[in-house]
């Protein structure tokens, strides 16, 4: 009972930190994201540093966790992703995702932060993103 409360609280704090990181990094500004993706134009490399910072810290955590084989600090098992195969859904999905990301400069995290701030653009994007999640689940269910 009590453990679930801690797990919920820590997830909330992680979501909050993640959102603050996105705001700090400039990821919540679609114009900045498009400036990073526009390598043929006036390229703004800032967001490459977001990847570097994020990956370095996450890499340390994943590496550390291999030395604590079974359980996390809150005593739940580590949910290592099991899929390793490069499949057609992975490639088609990533392609469509890249297309949408490049069209407006928003991906799911920043979109949720923007929507939360009350920005109408973020809200519209998130509503259709949620519809997209649902449609993908329906398609996957039909295929399998």
């Amino acid at each position: 009972m009590k453990k679930h409360r801690f797990l919920t609280l820590s997830a909330f704090i992680c979501g909050l930190l993640f959102g603050l990181g996105l705001l700090m990094a400039g990821m919540a500004n679609p114009a900045k994201v498009l400036g990073f993706l526009d390598i043929a134009g006036l390229w703004d490399p800032s967001l490459a540093l977001v990847m570097v910072g994020g990956i370095v810290v996450a890499f340390i955590a994943f590496t550390l966790s291999k030395k604590m084989p079974h359980n996390s600090l809150l005593q739940v098992k580590f949910n290592w992703p099991e899929a390793t195969a490069v499949t057609r859904p992975l490639l088609i999905g990533s392609t469509l995702f890249g297309l949408g990301w490049g069209l407006v400069g928003l991906c799911p995290g920043p979109a949720l932060v923007l929507a939360g701030s009350g920005a109408i653009e973020g809200l519209i994007f998130v509503v259709f993103m949620l519809i997209g999640f649902r449609l993908a689940d329906l398609v996957q269910a039909k295929l399998s």
């Binding site: 820590s10 992680c14 979501g15 990094a25 993706l37 910072g53 088609i92 890249g98 949408g100 653009e121």
Partner: protein, 140 residues
């Protein structure tokens, strides 16, 4: 290079914060901080599986308000019209779900786990996004 808009310190610090959030969610909850998976699961799953996901999404949604307690919100410029935002939202949601992840799940978590599958996904969506921007800005 766009030196005017280059923000190395803020972007690196922001990246470290994102990394910290990812590290904590893994070391405490044993979960991958993949936003699309968490957000989709917060609607689709049930019970305890649902609560931590809803809490994470709530944290993201409220983050701009917590930011406002400390400083004014950073600049946000959206140049796309509503129709384009809707289309892009649909593509991003559908694509991330079908492709089992987005910039966070494949880009940050997958790459730092040295997952080949996530590397393929990340290279794919980065390339497509860059080509899309190139076509929209320089060809159309």
């Amino acid at each position: 290079m766009d030196w005017m808009n280059f923000t190395p310190q803020q972007s690196l610090l922001g990246g470290l914060l994102i990394g910290l959030a990812t590290a904590l969610l893994w070391l405490l909850n044993g979960r991958i901080a993949g936003i699309s998976g968490i957000a989709a699961g917060s609607l689709a799953s049930s019970g305890a599986e649902r609560w931590w996901r809803l809490a994470f999404v709530l944290g993201l949604v409220l983050s701009s308000w917590v930011w406002l307690l400390l400083a004014p919100l950073p600049e946000v410029q959206v140049t796309s019209n509503y129709q384009l935002l809707a289309l892009a939202g649909l593509l991003v949601g559908f694509g991330a779900r079908l492709g089992s992840g987005c910039t966070s799940g494949h880009g940050i978590c997958g790459l730092s786990r040295l997952s080949g599958r996530s590397l393929v996904a990340t290279v794919t969506f980065m390339t497509v996004a860059m080509v899309t921007v190139f076509v929209v800005r320089h060809l159309l």
